[in-house]
Point group: C2
Chain length 468, copies 2
């Protein structure tokens, strides 16, 4: 149990003074909307939803909540897959959606200062107009917010060449649970000045502070890209081809893996005729290269085609034009939706060193046989990041919410043995925290919990996420 | 004052049991050797130097020192420039030099597992033999140790294209001051599993734990590089050219700035005839591009030459062969030594967003005029990282150790106004900590100090570095 207070009319009046009545939501419909994200079918009702749009307002809210012992759950676009934005204890949902300004695109320094409520794709398009590139690119980029991406240290398909969110964050304005406001770093590319609080906040899932401004580095936009889809007769062979590509000296700008079911379901789901999946094909790799010289890209594609040919692949589909590229990417991006539409499922966000992918995939299937579940796997193979979607199918309630946990634990134990970990880009949130002991011993968890206490001594901010 | 104990004969016996008598040094000569690093002319005698070579030994030493309240100062190659390895309180210097094994080069996953006492250049050469590349490349690479690079989050010339040490560290085995041993992360390219302790330890200057094993990511070695030296009639113009190169879409693999004095002194110091510095030339840029396609590199060099031509540059020297490249790099790498040989000096490791370099350089010179000091500036201009060497010259004792501090503070205040910070790659250590308040307010410093306390509640590990 917690020491949290229940919200009362006085609190609501105080909140209205801070953010204005229009930004204090208490109606049933609103509360239900903010009760879930994209994680399974979980649902936790908040007592109030607040929509501040200035750092000062967030600071005042945090001071009040600290004083009154009210739990606060920060929320971005609500696209999370680990339940990080769910208000498990009721209380306040702090929706950052009105922090939606791109404050400045600094073309001289290749940087952008942005508020956390900007939609990822909106930011990407805005900087692309200046010839600049912000690579982190989650599948939900059309609706997720930059602040949420920072909370989860998101990745996406471009991570394999360009890195994840943490590799682009230079500096953060953060409101601490006390209401104090700090900038975590400086607007520079290298920094050896004290502890790296920037990287401590990135990926901390909204448990250490509320990010209110973000300085990101940008890079020049690559001018061209080429895309190919490679079918394989064996899913393990597809995984094995992944590390062979890198060992041959190529660094694709995307290297995505889809099991047969994933591609088949999404093809049906979006009613696409772009890909015809031949019989006997068990998996596909979607491979992109990018750069500024088309001749070089052609050479790289030929080189990669020669590598994959050694892994018993079928006929390669080279995307012919922009439209076909978009089609192929749409298929990849909407796999998660297609799986969701097909069945209740649980998604495990495993990641291993990339050469261990075949062993991981085989292990997942073996564990599935043992526990009687079917899984559909896809993900960012170039990073060793495999999304394992466990399909409810015909599983009984007892299997689904009981013995399956043991199966998932076995998958994570395998991941650990292979040098990997239990979340590559979705975070731990609410749904994975009971598996943290697979990865971390008690000493390590204690350090994390004490760091949480340094930032949030009253434990009001997103309590119960990552660990209890 | 501190609560530290003095070392006695019993302690020495216990240390001998742990690491063997040969690895417990107490003779005058050894103590003097470990009393300094490369920071100014500072000198602090330890009471004993220990040279463990296993994680278990380090753990036993830390347990004993914690129990007995003995201060511990970890040390790498002793090449530090901020006094991080100086045993300010006497006690134990923990020299990591015998942790000198490259444990495994994993060509399948493009990773290397290495002990912290391996010399940076030795590691680079070992992975290059496998066609792999570890880019962080401090000027001291021939004698600095990987562990020290991690402590300071080192950079070097390649950082501009490839990033700094923090961008290559995947996972660290760390002995905590309690003696507990943790792995901070996993051997993976993306990770959203709890707080990023890996990045908290990188750059923490040996204040949070002792790193005993390191997993680094590697990239394929670029096959070719080209190098040019560009003279400018105005140092500010040279700085202005830097950001113009990036805005034109080029990302050089090195972009170094040297003021006239820097290049002149080092040319004399190493007795080189490679560069003839024309009259009227105030600064040079050393610019490298690398990649796998020579035609592309030629195009890039031409493009960059066209950009710098707009900044009133002199005749460009294009390095003709490997030997000339080596010569030019030797000049750049040995500037620091040459300055040191020329005069007593203090080095300030400023960093700003790169387009602010001209304003920084002008400001440094103006502040110099005001306080009567001469400075020689050089550094990694592509990163906005300028090493400001303040030359003692004819300054009186009162000026050098008195009013100069106010001048340095003004430089740092300027750096802060320009969006930068007070150390790009050398760390804060002992010599910069009195300027931390320029960058961080008290709330922020308190967070850092409390994090220190989480890791090291007895404050025995490198106490007094970064902050008091």
């Amino acid at each position: 149990m917690t020491n949290f207070s229940k919200l009362d009319a006085r609190h609501l009046d105080l909140f209205r003074e801070i953010v204005g009545a229009a930004n204090v939501l208490t109606d049933e419909e609103a509360l239900h909307h903010y009760a879930h994200d994209e994680t399974e079918d979980l649902h936790y009702l908040p007592e109030v939803v607040l929509k501040p749009n200035t750092t000062e307002q967030v600071s005042s809210i945090m001071q009040l909540c600290q004083q009154e012992s009210l739990p606060v759950t920060p929320r971005g676009g609500g696209t999370g897959l680990s339940g990080g934005a769910l208000p498990q204890w009721g209380g306040v949902v702090l929706s950052m959606e009105r922090f939606n300004k791109i404050i400045a695109i600094d073309e001289r320094n290749l940087q952008v200062t942005v508020e956390p409520g900007v939609i990822t794709e909106v930011l990407q398009n805005a900087v692309r107009e200046k010839g600049l590139f912000y690579p982190p690119d989650p599948s939900s980029r059309g609706s997720c917010l930059i602040g949420g991406n920072i909370a989860e240290n998101s990745g996406g398909p471009k991570a394999v060449k360009y890195g994840v969110v943490k590799d682009y964050v230079l500096n953060l304005e953060v409101v601490l649970p006390s209401g104090a406001v700090i900038w975590t770093g400086a607007n520079v590319l290298k920094n050896s000045t004290g502890y790296n609080l920037t990287q401590l906040v990135v990926g901390s899932e909204g448990t250490l502070g509320i990010v209110t401004k973000i300085v990101l580095r940008l890079i020049p936009s690559p001018k061209y890209d080429l895309l190919m889809l490679v079918p394989f007769r064996s899913a393990e062979n597809a995984c094995a081809a992944v590390s062979a590509i890198f060992r041959a000296g190529y660094t694709p700008s995307a290297l995505e893996f889809m099991e047969r079911d994933a591609l088949e379901w999404v093809t049906r789901y979006v009613d696409s005729s772009t890909v015809k999946i031949e019989e006997g094909i068990q998996a596909h790799l979607l491979i992109e290269v990018d750069g500024n010289y088309t001749e070089v890209l052609m050479q790289e594609m030929e080189g990669i085609a020669a590598v994959v040919a050694e892994f018993d692949c079928g006929d390669i589909l080279f995307a012919e034009d922009h439209q076909q590229k978009e089609e192929l990417w749409k298929l990849r991006r909407r796999v998660a939706e297609a799986v969701k539409a097909n069945s209740v499922y649980k998604e495990e966000d495993t990641v291993v060193p990339r050469a261990e992918l075949p062993a991981l995939l085989k292990g997942v299937k073996d564990i599935g046989k043992k526990y009687g579940f079917h899984s559909v796997c896809y993900g960012h193979a170039g990073d060793g990041n495999l999304h394992v979607n466990i399909i409810r199918g015909e599983l009984s309630e007892e299997q689904w919410n009981g013995t399956l946990k043991t199966g998932i634990r076995e998958i994570f134990e395998l991941v650990k043995r292979l040098g990997g970990t239990i979340s590559g880009e979705h975070g731990i949130g609410l749904v994975q925290k009971s598996y943290m002991d697979v990865i971390f011993d008690d000493q390590h968890l204690q350090i994390m919990k004490q760091i949480k206490q340094v930032f949030d001594p009253s434990n009001i901010l997103n309590r119960g996420k990552i660990f209890d």
